[in-house]
């Protein structure tokens, strides 16, 4: 089954119907394994038990970035091939990406309170995640302002691609800005390298987050397709009643 076959929403829905329970099951299993490994992992010699926030924080940050990359691939699909599902994929991914980014920010704040003594510092990484979050929200706002999905699709695709070019520039400029405004070495997270006893739970948790994303994304895409069908049916009924 190629990507073109999936252009048929009905076929896509059937595929989702078949795979979603398996994906959800795998997500739950890997999450259980990852959480257990994280629970059993040794405390850090400096940070104590708070280091375990990392098992949520870091995968969430990865997924927050990954979502934008996936949306960019979808945006190309919308602009270049007019793939009907590409827009659905991008639209479904945006709130999930925003949620992962928010999760990263919130867990980072909770981690920062005991470690740095404050919920928020204008650290380069925190700041660039915050800007990413802002860009997700702007994108979602754009989708919400248009009533016609196809018109909103290509506008959003343009903005996603502009954002993809801009995110590394923002990251670079924020790094520069931070080193200019405050000396490095005010705070340092963790040791120089990560110990294997912490690395394995982290990787398992990253896999679990990946599966969670796939599950949520497929479900959100299904909902979006069904929502559009409902919209079309409502429009047709309104036309029929008006005539």
């Amino acid at each position: 089954m190629s990507l073109i076959d999936l252009a048929n929403p009905t076929r896509f829905l059937a595929l989702v119907q078949r795979t979603l329970p398996w994906l959800a099951g795998a997500t739950a299993a890997i999450f259980a394994l990852g959480l257990w490994l994280g629970w059993a992992a040794p405390d850090d010699y400096q940070q104590g038990a708070t280091v375990k926030i990392m098992f949520i924080h870091v995968p969430a940050a990865w997924l927050g970035l990954f979502c934008w990359v996936l949306m960019s691939a979808s945006a190309l699909g919308t602009l270049v091939w007019r793939h009907p599902l590409a827009d659905v994929a991008a639209k479904a991914a945006a709130p999930i990406g925003a949620a992962f980014t928010l999760l990263c920010l919130v867990t980072g704040a909770l981690w920062g309170r005991p470690m740095w003594g404050t919920y928020w510092v204008w650290d380069a990484r925190l700041t660039s995640m915050l800007i990413l979050f802002l860009m997700y929200l702007g994108l979602i706002a754009l989708w919400r302002t248009v009533e016609d999905p196809s018109r909103g699709a290509r506008a959003a695709a343009i903005l996603i691609l502009v954002g993809l070019i801009n995110i590394p520039i923002v990251k670079f400029s924020v790094d520069w800005w931070n080193t200019l405004h405050q000396p490095a070495a005010v705070f340092r997270v963790g040791g120089p390298t990560i110990h294997p006893s912490l690395l394995w739970p982290l990787l398992i948790m990253a896999l679990a987050f990946m599966l969670l994303f796939a599950t949520l994304h497929l479900a959100a895409m299904r909902n979006e397709i069904l929502r559009r069908r409902v919209r079309t049916l409502q429009l047709m009924r309104a036309v029929a009643q008006g005539a």
Binding site: L79, G138, L142, V162, I169, V170, F172, S173, W177
Partner: protein
């Protein structure tokens, strides 16, 4: 080429004769500069320290707010349809419109910035350095803003959506604009480092802005 020159002339003429974009933009900047000391107090030492930042924020907001009507007026009176159908590439047309917009709203802001700096206890030499960074940086704000203005027309929405979409994109310009200004005043970074990056941002936006804005405008036709 002639068509593009004619378009440039038309845009500049329109902006100068009606609308008063340049005047309103500079008045807005003046209002921002006046409001800030009321908020943070008349301490000249503090104002001198944050003066370049205040000027840059004022210029950023003024350029963003001026973008609203960039394509909207042409869309309403049908001129935009003519531009879409013209033989000149839409990207170039959009770039010319952006250039005209910068000449009539961005450039005046740059010119008055050193004078505004006097209110913030920046001497004229410092003000001129800040203006130099703005001369390099404000085209980037305008050309990034083209994308937002084109999207606003394509979606038939405007207002607050445009700044929300464009402000995150403008952060690098603000960072390096203020960094270059600070470097010119106090150091320790050499002025050239942030300034050349600022120029690079502007050059990149000169390419990115028209291409993305033209894509959004083609959407508006459908």
């Amino acid at each position: 080429m002639n068509a593009l020159l004619a378009l440039l002339q038309r845009e500049v003429r329109l902006a100068v004769r009606i609308g008063g974009g340049a005047l309103i933009g500079t008045l807005f900047l003046l209002a921002v500069v006046i409001v800030v000391p009321f908020a943070i107090g008349p301490d000249l030492n503090l104002l001198r320290r944050i003066g370049p930042a205040i000027l840059w924020i004022g210029v950023l907001l003024a350029s963003l707010l001026a973008l609203d009507r960039l394509f909207a007026a042409d869309h309403e009176d049908g001129a935009l349809d003519l531009m879409l159908m013209a033989s000149a590439p839409l990207e170039l047309t959009v770039a010319v419109k952006g250039a005209a917009h910068w000449l009539t709203t961005g450039l005046p802001l740059v010119v008055v910035a050193p004078l505004m700096g006097l209110f913030l206890d920046l001497d004229l030499g410092t003000g001129l350095m800040v203006a130099a960074t703005m001369l390099a940086g404000t085209p980037a704000l305008t050309f990034l803003g083209l994308i937002g203005a084109a999207l606003a027309v394509a979606l038939r929405r405007g207002g607050l959506l445009l700044p929300v979409l464009i402000l995150p994109l403008a952060i690098p310009v603000l960072v390096f604009g203020v960094a270059a200004s600070q470097a010119a005043i106090v150091g320790p970074v050499p002025f050239g480092t942030p300034f050349t990056i600022l120029c690079a941002l502007t050059l990149a936006s000169l390419v990115l802005g028209p291409v993305a804005a033209a894509a959004a405008l083609r959407l508006a036709r459908e």
